[in-house]
């Protein structure tokens, strides 16, 4: 299996996969979002804002999953030193940031009508802000280190240590805001949203986001491999 992670092999098998992945994600996203936006009823309590869920939940999911993927890629790099996995981690970070931003933005916009404020220090929101900072730090570290292997090493360690602290933060934030009478109206109302009418288009949207994420990571990894190759060629030239 590892041989597919050799840069040349990787470039080979991803080239034909890429258009399919983008196409499929476009189809899923179109179905999910159009269905959700045009053909679902309005929630009796949240009004039309419930339609935001088709963007909010998939992006929130992918924001977390992107980090998990980076964590695995980092571990693979540290253990097996596969260049592609290090570069894939690097490639995933900006996509993760985009997902986090979408989740934060849609959440904030949703918050205004629901809670009367764009931002509250709700545990989930807070964890996302922290996740956002983790992404920024991770990307900044990649950008700051010149030697590509050292950068891969350092960012991998940061990703691992950061994951541990991200877990701790999640727990801490829950604890911090727990006894602090955040009004009941502010809590995320789960029961309402899992009704079938909302659920099916949501599945499509989630599927679209997942496939889009992978397509983007493949594309960006290819770019990173090419960049690395340019660097190697230039160094050979002197």
């Amino acid at each position: 299996m590892w041989e597919y992670a050799n840069p040349k092999r990787f470039m080979g098998w991803t080239a034909p996969v890429l258009p399919w992945a983008f196409g499929l994600s476009a189809v899923c996203l179109t179905i999910g979002l159009i269905w959700g936006f045009f053909f679902t009823p309005v929630d009796f309590r949240q009004g039309s804002t419930v339609k935001i869920i088709y963007l909010h939940v998939p992006s929130a999911l992918m924001a977390i999953n992107a980090w998990v993927m980076m964590l695995m890629a980092s571990l693979i790099w540290l253990v097996r030193r596969h260049h592609v996995s290090a570069l894939a981690a690097k490639a995933a970070a900006p996509v993760g940031v985009a997902m986090t931003l979408i989740a934060l933005a849609t959440g904030a916009i949703w918050g205004q009508p629901m809670w009367g404020t764009y931002w509250a220090w709700d545990p989930r929101l807070t964890s996302f802000l922290i996740l956002f900072l983790f992404y920024l730090g991770y990307m900044a570290l990649w950008a700051a280190i010149e030697d590509p292997d050292t950068a891969a090493d350092l960012t991998s360690v940061l990703c691992i240590v950061g994951s541990v602290f991200a877990f701790l933060s999640r727990y801490a934030v829950n604890f911090w805001n727990q006894g602090l009478h955040q009004g009941a109206s502010l809590s995320l109302d789960k029961e309402k949203n899992v009704a079938d009418v909302f659920y099916q288009p949501l599945l499509f949207a989630i599927g679209g986001f997942v496939i889009l994420f992978f397509a983007l990571v493949l594309l960006r990894t290819r770019t990173e491999i090419r960049k690395r190759r340019i660097g190697a060629l230039q160094r050979r030239e002197g």
Partner: protein, 218 residues
């Protein structure tokens, strides 16, 4: 370890060393806050434990980049790396010196400065205790961040950005202990969590720090 400790403490206490820096910065924040938010006693005393913790954290954060940067610039770090001292020891020594020059004085000063913020005297012990328990974690985590950015020219910005999210759990539990202490509430859970974070960080992070230093000095 001992020579490293002794030298770093000596450097810290000399003119321009880091010893007073953290304390002065702590003082500055505490003094400025009432000018900013206004002099109302009730507000001040309500935010006092939190502000003390935030100020302590900022003071720790700001003194991080001198942990390795000065030794790196003048070539000492490479020489220490080739000396018969394991880098893990270096990491521990650096963290310890950072704590002695920031965490410890801040802990001692906190109750006194708390007075400026109208901190309820009932909370002195809780604030000082939470700082005593939490600041070692700040030093150890910070040393790790400093090691990550040691090769980066003027990495202060990057360092702050990297360390900030890592500081969040310590801050939350530390400030929670302090606030509950002031309000005389039950504080076992956050206290245990704070102690756990510190113990875990002190036990494990020096290895990560040494590994990262090794990668950076390669």
């Amino acid at each position: 370890m001992i020579p490293l400790l002794r030298r770093d403490l000596m450097l810290a206490t000399r003119a321009g060393g880091g010893f007073g820096l953290a304390l002065v910065f702590f003082l500055i924040v505490i003094v400025l806050v009432p000018f900013g938010v206004g002099p109302e006693t009730d507000i001040l005393s309500r935010i006092a434990p939190g502000i003390l913790w935030v100020a302590a954290l900022l003071a720790a954060l700001l003194s991080l980049d001198r942990i390795f940067a000065l030794d790196h610039e003048d070539g000492t770090l490479t020489l220490i790396a080739t000396a018969p001292v394991p880098l893990e020891t270096v990491a521990v020594a650096k963290s310890l010196v950072h704590w002695i020059t920031t965490g410890l004085p801040l802990t001692i000063a906190a109750p006194f400065l708390g007075v400026l913020l109208q901190l309820d005297p009932a909370g002195f012990a809780a604030v000082a205790g939470s700082l005593l328990l939490g600041t070692p974690a700040l030093s150890v985590i910070g040393t790790f961040g400093a090691a990550l950015t040691v090769g980066v020219r003027r990495g202060g910005l990057l360092l702050s950005l990297l360390v900030l999210p890592l500081y969040v759990p310590t801050l939350i539990f530390g400030a929670e202990v302090a606030r509950r202490g002031v309000a005389e509430l039950e504080l076992t859970t956050p206290l245990l969590m704070l102690a756990g974070i510190t113990a875990g960080a002190v036990a494990l992070l020096p290895f990560a720090t040494a590994a990262v230093l090794r990668m950076n000095l390669r």
